[in-house]
């Protein structure tokens, strides 16, 4: 396993040449699809996600009419067969997808001003075109941008990133094992213990925290601190994308 042979201790550089606290190249654009209410395309390294929003729209007729004074957020994740290293047709409704969909839906249920749209549904469709780590985090970032494009009011951006507990999977001595790594790619995600953290607001209120691997308790606080800082930086980048788009729209209208 490349990370375990620990060339990390020599130059403190990861496989792709990043340091422990460097994010991958993030590029995003909003309003990419003309036909959807809101859309965005986000690339974080090699993870490429396309997000479209339909809504707020009338509740679907089928099923029990749900009594509520709030809009409901529904998420659908489409993982393309060519997105991963192996070609795999994901079965609809397989548990990992359902869990991710639920996590994203509850995250946005708390952030969007759903009380403004009673009895309606907001459908977030995420197309995963290429997977290379940090899938949940990128989905949250892409969905934020698309929701802003759709014009649905929300209290603040939701930005997310992944953090690993240490540069090696075997926590042996001889390596400076106190550096949590920020923004993992596919290879690092498979080998290291990591968590996904999603925050909202400038003061960094944590909305989403998912950890499915084991790590030492004393590392957790350090990982969260690094994650919060990373999310703050991503929030700044998302804000830049939105402002740039807004500037172009304004120019087209006024200029």
């Amino acid at each position: 396993m490349p990370l375990d042979t620990s060339t990390y201790s020599l130059a403190h550089l990861r496989l792709d040449g990043r340091r422990w606290n460097e994010l991958r190249r993030l590029s995003a654009s909003i309003s990419t699809s003309g036909s959807a209410d809101g859309s965005s395309y986000l690339e974080q390294g090699n993870t490429k996600i396309l997000c479209t929003i339909t809504g707020p729209q009338e509740q679907k007729q089928g099923g029990a009419r749900r009594e509520s004074n709030e809009a409901k957020v529904e998420v659908e994740i489409n993982v393309a067969a060519f997105s991963g290293v192996d070609r795999k047709r994901r079965a609809r409704g397989d548990r990992r997808s359902v869990e991710m969909q639920h996590t994203i839906a509850t995250a946005f249920q708390g952030v969007l001003f759903t009380h403004l749209y009673p009895h309606s549904t907001v459908v977030i469709t995420l197309h995963v075109l290429s997977q290379d780590g940090s899938l949940l985090a990128c989905c949250l970032n892409a969905a934020t941008l698309a929701l802003i494009d759709a014009g649905i009011p929300m209290s603040d951006y939701v930005s997310a990133c992944t953090v690993a507990s240490s540069p090696t999977s075997s926590e042996g001595d001889g390596v400076d094992a106190t550096d949590p790594l920020l923004d993992l790619n596919g290879v690092e995600e498979q080998e290291l213990a990591f968590l996904t953290i999603g925050t909202s607001g400038e003061e960094g209120k944590v909305l989403v925290l998912v950890m499915e691997t084991r790590c030492r308790v004393e590392r957790l606080e350090g990982m969260m601190a690094v994650g919060l800082e990373g999310c703050g930086r991503i929030r700044g980048m998302l804000d830049g994308v939105v402002r740039e788009h807004g500037g172009k729209v304004l120019e087209a209208r006024v200029g």
Binding site: S33, G34, S35, A36, N46, K48, L50, T52, T54, E76, N78, A80, A81, F82, S83, G84, V85, R87, R89, R92, V123, T125, H127, L129, S130, Q131, D132
Partner: protein, 331 residues
Amino acid sequence: MANGTAKPTGLAFSRETFAKLTPGPFLQAHLQQAEPVRANGRSLDAFRTPTINTGSLSHSNGSAVVRIGDTAIVCGVRAEVLLASDIPIPPSDDSSEDEMVEQLGLLVPNVELSTGCSPSHLPGNPPSTLAQALSYRILSLLHTANLINLQDLRIQYTEPPTDEDLPDEGPKVVTKAYWTLYLDVLCIALDGNPFDALWAGVLSALQNTQLPKAWWDPDREMIVCSPLASEATRLQLRHLPIASTFAVFSTASPIKARSEAQSWVLADPDDFEEAVCVETVSVVVTSEDDARESVLKLEKCGGGHVGKVEMGQCVRLAHQRWRDWQGVIGG
């Protein structure tokens, strides 16, 4: 009002309301002008200009993103190895190479429309009849077009000479495996005319496909690939067929005399026009070796307006579009 002599005030509708309430008469009003124009501002035989972006996906062997107006699709090609020993019924020796591509099933297209690309294709549903029909049309067009040489998809192995071989016999070349190309097409946004965009995506993605150098390792008894990009070979397509679809808007109805009906052939229909037209014509043209252009496939279904003359016009327009597309797609 009891006073019947008062003139009723006219209802004033905005353009959008008129289009939503009565789409047929809305389109008809546009087409019946002295200079017929469509609701989207295009002329009758104007196609939308395509934009194609290839090679953007890192995990695929080939990929393409095609945008025609507001219709956008993403196509990814993955190549997987099919061992000759795994083929249940080996094809007979007298089938030609082109037939073998079809018999072995080396090209597998799959069209995914239930992605939320339009309000009529909501995600979470099983493939609709339209998606299944499009998958099949792409598959049959791939086989008819004979785009790929079987030799490009073979992984062969030259057996070392043994003592039992006659001295004059040349080295025996055996096909150990084939490359199977899985073409997954995702529709991101649909604004009418999915077939043209899907076919363009499949074509561009195949053109962009790079197959790694592969060989049979006799010691490990498996196919081994080289990870070097410099040793990969680009897939060569024999020719580049282009699809053009037309829709026919007609005022014909069962209660009117047929001679009174007016019809217009609209090139590259968008979603609004597809909803009011029942007749469609699809033409696929190609030109092998830059010689005579030939028609590869003709499909017409729906009403009864398009006859010999109109079909000839459609084929001419399709040829024109083929020439325009060569600049976009042609290498």
